[in-house]
Point group: C2
Chain length 413, copies 2
């Protein structure tokens, strides 16, 4: 079965908005074994939408289109749909009741533009949107199903999960597929590839391996397609184990896990707590650690000491160390980690200090140079890294390198 996503919206084509909607839809459907074959992004004009629908009609079994159903005037999609699929726009009393109820519950006034959302083509089946005011629609043309959903991410994803997927599973069950993603940290794509080249070479044809690098990790994704899901899963598990046992120190998790969640689980398991002292990462470590639900169980807090004064006054780093070695130095990062550990009465302290850039670099301490320390109950581990000249990239790499050092510390590695 071939599925196509059509994302409608000028904002996507001028790059003002990144198409996360398409990625979220693709992810939710792939996990259930559905194969997204095409993603097409199209302007919000009648001509282009019609052209994209024609192509999709010729190659896809199921089309999921998003965008263009909101209340503001830049949305012209519904007229185009009536034109393409036939029928006419009809005022839907039951949907209007839903819209009124929606505003009533929130104690908010209803606008005229919201009333317009009650007009729905009579050639469509409605797809309920329980948390928003724009109804979804399903049209069938030749052998292709066309779903149209609003572009608001929360509403759209709610409909994908609760309406589209159950319906597809019921009426168009997927082919067998199994997959596993191995999450690694600490080595680049090409070097990982060399380490597992022989394993990759022996993969059977129906199993594909892909490398997905990003500043926070390199993911290795195995996908097997065939007939029997259980058998595919066994094969995938086998190769997963082979790869993991080849590079055990580099693997930190699988599938949807994040490094911060893995570290959270380790801290909970060992009943240990964590605190941070951040300079160049500017709160980034705390922000990632606290993105995990339940992190208050093990996370004590962070001191973002951006100025030298705050390093001295709040973190009690010695003035002398800063004068002698500079704020970006082994001595200072060590004191930051050890002092914050005591200050928050935590088991582990982690600290960063570096030159985030683009300004502030010198020959001895270039932009991108970062010192990271982890103070454990029995020792303090310090590393110096250089993550290059881009401020954002080098912040995120420092954040994840620091979290990984906590992970390795927790595993006594």
């Amino acid at each position: 079965m071939i599925i196509e996503i059509i994302s409608i919206g000028d904002e996507l084509l001028i790059g003002q908005v990144v198409n996360t909607n398409a990625a979220h839809i693709a992810e939710s459907l792939s996990i259930k074994g559905y194969d997204i074959h095409w993603i097409t992004t199209v302007k919000d004009t009648a001509e282009d939408i019609k052209y994209a629908l024609d192509i999709a009609n010729s190659r896809a079994d199921v089309v999921i289109a998003t965008g263009g159903l909101g209340p503001t005037q830049d949305d012209r999609t519904k007229e185009v749909l009536v034109n393409y699929f036939g029928g006419k726009l009809v005022f839907d009393e039951s949907h209007f009741a839903h819209i009124k109820e929606f505003f009533h519950r929130r104690n908010m006034p209803m606008l005229e533009s919201n009333r317009q959302q009650a007009y729905i083509p009579d050639s469509a089946e409605k797809v309920p949107n329980h948390i928003g005011t724009a109804s979804g629609m399903l049209f069938k043309k030749d052998r292709t199903w066309f779903f149209f959903l609003p572009g608001v991410p929360f509403e759209m994803m709610n409909m994908i999960r609760n309406e589209i997927i159950p319906r597809l599973q019921n009426e168009l069950p997927p082919a067998a597929r199994a997959q596993k993603t191995i999450l690694t940290f600490g080595l680049g794509e090409s070097f990982l590839a060399e380490k597992i080249a022989d394993i990759e070479a022996e993969l059977p044809k129906h199993i594909a391996l892909a490398y997905l690098p990003s500043p926070q990790r390199v993911r290795l994704r195995l996908i097997a397609t065939g007939n029997k899901r259980e058998q595919l899963q066994e094969e995938i598990d086998l190769y997963t184990e082979k790869i993991k046992s080849r590079i055990p120190h580099l693997v930190f998790g699988e599938d949807d896990q994040t490094m911060e969640a893995v570290v959270g689980e380790l801290l909970k398991e060992k009943k240990l707590t964590l605190a941070c002292a951040e300079s160049c990462t500017g709160g980034g470590i705390a922000h990632r650690i606290t993105s995990v639900p339940g992190s208050s169980e093990y996370f004590q807090g962070s001191i973002v000491a951006y100025s030298n004064d705050s390093k001295i006054n709040i973190l009690q780093v010695s003035q002398e160390s800063i004068s002698n070695h500079g704020a970006v130095s082994e001595t200072v990062v060590k004191q930051m980690a050890e002092n914050v550990r005591k200050k928050f009465n935590a088991d582990i302290g982690v600290a960063t200090t570096g030159v985030a850039g683009p300004g502030g670099g010198t020959k001895e301490k270039p932009v991108g140079m970062v010192w990271i320390a982890v103070a454990l109950p029995n020792k303090t581990v310090v590393e110096k890294k250089n993550f290059g000249s881009d401020r954002e990239r080098n912040t995120i790499r420092s954040v994840y390198h620091a979290i990984n050092m906590v992970r390795l510390g927790l595993l006594n590695r």
Copy 2:
């Protein structure tokens, strides 16, 4: 001129990677007046790539394809290209010298997979990649130009800026276009639309207005297309002023500005400094503020006080206030903002405390309830908000609401 972006990669179609590359390319080209008409995402298989190239050949003048040129074995694009455009793969000595030099400069070993990157179709012009090992390629077929670039974001964007755009400007100059994006905060899309409905109604046909909502702001984008750029720019400026003077309190900036950079500019202008005390935002405010280059000039630091103990011991919030009112309360957030202001010896203190969720909510203090305070030299402003049940969304909304309160405080509003 019609431009199409083709993104090659299975990872995009299973939603494991969000297609930020396409957004970045689209943004860079639109700013220069080029019109991206289509973005197509395609699997890394010969059949699908060929099909996508056929469609692009029939409708586009310029195609920019990315992905599938990396060193690892999941890339099969180059063979497909020779098949489609003709010619054969030839070992390119000068490109091989570039690859060797690349590894030599970094003091890193070269891998066999990198040597393979020196094979280039003789039917292509090379497009130099100064910061990576995969060469870009340009093929011409019928009236269409096809650029192929590696998928690594840094290399790809470097080539877009330094190779593709200059070449297009030279040989295929764009139609006239002017645009302006007005950045607003504090009111939803539908309500903004009502406020400026009459202005929108009087827009001439060649000017389009789009609403681009996100948790951190709602952007209003005006685009005019026509013949004379200066005249279009004048028209856009006129409507921009009309809209801005209708909703002055809601507008915080224009175009590429961010709220955190705008607040940074205000702080620098007024020579004031900022410090934060964060509970539910977990370092998110500090992280945003420090994402701005040069923020060390005005940002003192943050205390992320995630536990009650740290609120009491490090921020000196009174134990009694926490016992009587709870950590999520007006009294506590006020003390946090005022105390952190003194602690960092800053001019302004900003604080948050709330129930980030998904756990921890009660009837009186549901998930999503957040108290935010800004302590200014002469007064402290406190607001209570409810941002709903999603942890990530409600953290980001709290962060930006807090930064906006600092902005309004700086403007005495």
